[in-house]
């Protein structure tokens, strides 16, 4: 997890969380980290990922409330495998947040 970064232009703060490898469960797509917005607090985040070992320049947007990716991979077969992982990422972040809240 990194410290919050502040944009001087649009005035927002983000927090980045590394994602464990088991959340990917896919040979071609690997999720690396998720960028969450803490100011303003948003129910949206950016999930960075690698495709066939190459980090992609554009992240996948994820909606926490809907527990879905708002963006899709061009390979529809691969997308069908990856899309259900959005729920796992939301659950992972939720459990991590709950554990941190319990220890503070």
């Amino acid at each position: 997890m990194s410290s919050p970064s502040v944009s001087p232009l649009a005035s927002y703060k983000t927090k980045t969380f590394s994602l464990p490898l088991y959340l990917s469960e896919n040979e071609r797509v690997t999720f690396s980290e998720v960028v969450t917005f803490i100011e303003p607090r948003l129910p949206l985040a950016m999930v960075h990922y690698s495709l066939d070992g190459v980090r992609q320049p554009l992240a996948l947007r994820i909606d926490f409330g809907k527990q879905v990716f708002l963006d899709h991979l061009t390979d529809t077969e691969l997308d069908a495998q990856v899309s259900p992982k959005a729920r796992n990422i939301v659950t992972y972040l939720g459990k991590m947040h709950a554990e941190r809240a319990a220890t503070h």
């Binding site: 944009s7 232009l9 649009a10 927002y12 983000t14 969450t36 917005f37 303003p40 948003l42 129910p43 949206l44 985040a45 950016m46 320049p57 554009l58 992240a59 996948l60 947007r61 909606d63 926490f64 409330g65 809907k66 527990q67 879905v68 990716f69 708002l70 963006d71 899709h72 939301v90 659950t91 972040l93 939720g94 459990k95 947040h97 709950a98």
Partner: protein
């Protein structure tokens, strides 16, 4: 309801919001952070039902609510969780426990351990309220774009 709840992209609807704050949030959280070289935009749209441009607006909350059954129905849209359950729907990261808490049974309290009831109707109403959402059917015409606000 699939469009709102599951983010289904194959849909005749376009999601709009009545709130600049919501639109600002969606503009921020793009596939890459907005920069001066690659800004995000919020489009302010004015749609008049009498402008003859063919765009029709729907209030998803009203549409769903009109289809709900009576309080006597055996399959209610209401949840049976605690008061904080709705927080878990809108924010399952910060309120993970509120979404996953087991349902409380009246005494003597025995019953299957399960999360509260959550139907797609309630989920749709809560999420459309979260986003101050309005649905448009048909394309939004250029003439309906009042102004474009740069977010960078």
């Amino acid at each position: 309801m699939q469009h709102i709840v599951r983010g289904t992209t194959v849909s005749p609807y376009v999601s709009l919001t009545k709130s600049y704050g919501i639109a600002f949030g969606y503009a921020l959280a793009g596939c890459a952070p907005p920069t001066p070289a690659n800004p995000a935009y919020v489009y302010e749209i004015e749609i008049d039902e009498l402008d003859g441009l063919g765009t029709r607006l729907l209030d998803p909350l009203t549409e769903v609510a009109n289809g709900l059954g009576s309080p006597y129905d055996s399959r209610p849209y209401q949840h049976d969780g605690d008061a904080s359950f709705l927080l878990g729907i809108t924010d399952p990261v910060d309120h993970h426990y509120d979404l996953s808490q087991p349902v409380r049974y009246a005494p003597p309290g025995q019953g299957t351990l399960r999360p509260p009831l959550l139907g797609i109707e309630l989920e749709c109403m809560v999420l459309s309220l979260r986003d101050a959402e309005v649905l448009a059917i048909g394309a939004v015409a250029k003439a309906q774009v009042h102004r474009r606000i740069c977010i960078c």
